[in-house]
């Protein structure tokens, strides 16, 4: 035992450092997979020091359904039923990149009318998706009423989608070379007169006016609320560089001030014919992300109104063989989904189904930013930031 105290070598009291810091252990808080605001089954393993978060680790996979693998044992027309279910809040918009990638491989020219119908329905899916975000985000911040208002307005848009496709969430309406010929419940079954349902244009105009009204109402009710501003402004700032590092896309990227929208930069659908603005944010905080999505709803409504006025006539379907075989080769098509950039990489060996299908989903890349973004934030801000990223677990795990 050589730990005896030498009285001559004792540190003087005045020399002792007074910084007595109580060592506290960080608490591990499992947020999810069952938690009211993780949008499904995301699990965050957070180390918290009181209310402050020292580190966060997202755990994925609770919603993994193996769609990439499933696609390999299905024929091309069957796969649209799967891709519908990736981001279930905007089912229609998911179908476009897959169909477009296949059409690119088969070198099919899609009729203009079909392209327009696709565009209208994609924008409707965008509006429906952003309505869900608007309601759910206010709910996460703590206001309950906007959820009900948003759902009511969204229902009208979903009714429109249903009147055309027959499905609210999973339309399965696209066909390789066009859209489903039996669109709308016409009085007969003759193919040439089965088109958009009767009264669709008038109904759409009414609904889009209501969407524009709703956007204004949300701007006042939610955006004009001082408490909402206090909770979201200067919270969770994402810089341009961070977006680039993590491959963040969609409204989140635009809220950080990058004017990047695949609708104007690629030609997967004829967006160049319409006049619309791409809203961008200044600070990249939660409020900007909310605001960018709100304005996008307005612009989508404007696009739909223009598309309805300039609807070309013609067939809904290009000539395609009865049994769809895709020639050998590969193609990649990316589109602007409501949540961000969605891409389908189709590799064909010339069979009835793809040899390999790689799906790039926006939510997966978008939430990869969470660990860096949430470090040092407060627990209520974690909810605000997570909500502002607007991810869907089906889109993360697919």
């Amino acid at each position: 035992m050589d730990t005896t105290i030498d009285p001559n070598n004792m540190p003087h009291v005045s020399d002792a450092s007074v910084s007595v810091e109580i060592e506290t252990e960080d608490m591990t808080l499992n947020i999810g997979p069952q938690h009211p605001s993780t949008h499904g089954v995301l699990r965050l393993v957070a180390k918290v020091d009181g209310e402050k978060i020292s580190s966060v680790e997202p755990v994925l996979g609770y919603m993994h359904r193996g769609y990439e693998k499933l696609a390999e044992v299905r024929t091309y027309p069957q796969i649209t039923t799967l891709v519908n279910r990736i981001d279930w809040v905007s089912g229609f918009a998911n179908e476009i990149p897959f169909i477009a990638a296949t059409e690119k491989l088969m070198e099919i020219e899609v009729p203009e009318r079909a392209q327009h119908i696709r565009l209208i329905l994609t924008e409707m899916a965008r509006i429906a998706s952003h309505f869900v975000f608007n309601g759910a985000y206010a709910l996460e911040i703590g206001a309950l009423s906007p959820m009900f208002l948003a759902m009511e307005d969204r229902e009208r848009v979903l009714d429109l989608i249903e009147s055309v496709t027959g499905g609210r969430f999973h339309p399965n309406f696209n066909r390789i070379g066009g859209v489903k010929p039996a669109a709308g419940a016409g009085p007969t079954t003759k193919k040439d007169i089965q088109d958009l349902p009767a009264g669709f244009y008038e109904e759409t105009k009414i609904v889009m006016e209501k969407v524009l009204e709703a956007v204004e109402r949300f701007e006042n009710l939610v955006g004009g609320n001082e408490v909402f501003k206090a909770r979201t402004q200067n919270v969770g700032i994402i810089s341009k560089e961070m977006c680039e590092d993590y491959g963040v896309s969609g409204p989140i990227l635009r809220a950080s001030g990058v004017k990047f929208d695949l609708r104007t930069q690629t030609n997967f659908l004829p967006y160049d014919k319409f006049d619309f603005e791409i809203p961008i944010g200044e600070n990249g905080d939660c409020y900007d992300r909310w605001y960018v999505r709100l304005i996008e709803m307005r612009e989508s409504a404007r696009i739909i109104l223009q598309a309805i006025d300039s609807m070309p006539s013609g067939s809904l379907q290009a000539k395609v063989p009865k049994v769809i075989k895709v020639p050998k080769g590969q193609s990649y098509v990316r589109t602007e989904n409501p949540k961000g950039e969605m891409g389908f990489h189709v590799i064909s060996e010339g069979g009835l189904g793809p040899y390999r299908l790689k799906i790039r989903t926006p939510s997966f890349s978008n939430i990869s930013i969470l660990p860096e973004l949430l470090e040092g934030q407060l627990l209520p801000d974690l909810i605000a930031i997570m909500g502002s990223l607007d991810f869907v677990l089906g889109d993360v795990d697919r």
Binding site: L29, S37, E51, A138, I141, L144, F148, R231, P380, D381
Partner: protein, 326 residues
């Protein structure tokens, strides 16, 4: 009437008053929120959903009272009782007419503020004993919040006490009759606002519902409670809302007296007056609840310590100066 039977009668009246108040407030909350959100709300139970709160109570009583294995059982079971006792206790001194009051304590205001802090204890031990991290955070948030808001609440009432020169609630109302105007107009307007904000925080209602905050903490300190114990927390919340509004109407809005009506008839219109004022205040709270998001914990502390407390101190200063001058 013997002392014992009088006490029993009074306790019965308080219970009936408090529980009915909770029922009315529940119904008002549910219906008003439904109208604000463009939905019909409860429709089928009773006449247009009027006895919906009763159905709610029966539903909760039927449910299993789950007690997790790791909780501190005695304290876990005791916590709802603490909260309920605290809010029932508040009713004892609230007068609904000069004679219809259980006890007219001459330290009534002091008693109110002391008893209302007891619910903090209930919430804190509920959060602590639940053996759940969300509950614990909810309980601690509640404790921090209630301490921060107890102060402006007390300081706001001090202004009233200085102006009325008494701590008895009946005395405060009598003083307002003497002045001819309720205190909210006659000098205590700021105190009234501070009192209502602090009371909202004390009730843990939106925008100050962080201890519950279901999008963050699932259900806060109530997370592990179910069945009848959850019901007790639930009812206590509404009784608390009712009694806080009743206190505010007594302290600031003239209580049982309505200006211009003859004071001799106060025993007849007194209860109606108190109830009407209480319901009006409650309706404002309902409107606030369904239109505001939730503050963050640190923002709430900032509001309490940097705005409400200096303002209420200023109010006390002004009131004292006016008292001395006039």
């Amino acid at each position: 009437m013997s002392f014992g039977s009088e006490i029993l009668l009074k306790v019965g009246v308080v219970l009936a008053f408090a529980l009915n108040g909770a029922v009315i407030f529940t119904l008002m909350d549910v219906k008003a929120s439904a109208w604000m959100q463009r939905r019909p709300g409860p429709l089928h139970v009773g006449l247009r959903g009027l006895i919906f709160p009763l159905a709610e109570v029966i539903k909760f009583i039927q449910k299993e009272d789950i007690i997790p294995t790791k909780v501190d059982k005695t304290i876990f079971k005791l916590a709802p009782a603490f909260v309920l006792f605290s809010v029932f206790g508040l009713f004892v001194v609230v007068p609904i007419s000069p004679t219809l009051v259980v006890v007219d304590l001459n330290l009534g205001v002091f008693y109110l503020l002391a008893i209302s802090t007891l619910s903090t204890l209930g919430v804190l031990i509920a959060g602590w004993s639940s053996a759940n991290k969300y509950s614990l955070m909810g309980g601690l948030r509640a404790a921090g919040q209630l301490i921060a808001y107890e102060l402006p609440l007390i300081l706001a009432v001090v202004g009233v006490v200085i102006q009325a020169e008494t701590m008895s609630l009946v005395g405060i109302v009598e003083k307002q009759i003497e002045w001819g105007l309720p205190f909210v107009i006659a000098g205590q307007g700021i105190a009234f606002l501070i009192f209502m904000i602090a009371a909202t925080a004390e009730m843990m209602r939106v925008p100050f519902d962080m201890p519950i905050g279901e999008s963050e903490l699932v259900m806060g300190f109530m997370t592990e409670y179910s069945g009848i114990r959850f019901l007790i927390f639930y009812i206590a919340e509404y009784i608390n809302m009712f009694v806080m509004c009743a206190i505010a109407s007594t302290l600031f809005l003239g209580g049982y007296h309505i200006p211009l009506l003859p004071v001799e008839w106060v025993n007849f219109y007194g209860p109606v007056s108190v109830l009407t004022k209480t319901l009006l205040l409650g309706f404002i709270l309902v409107l606030v609840r369904w239109s505001f998001p939730r503050f963050r914990e640190d923002q709430l502390q900032n509001i309490a310590w940097k705005i409400l407390i200096p303002l209420s101190l200023l109010n006390i200063l002004i009131t004292s100066v006016m008292k001395v001058v006039f």
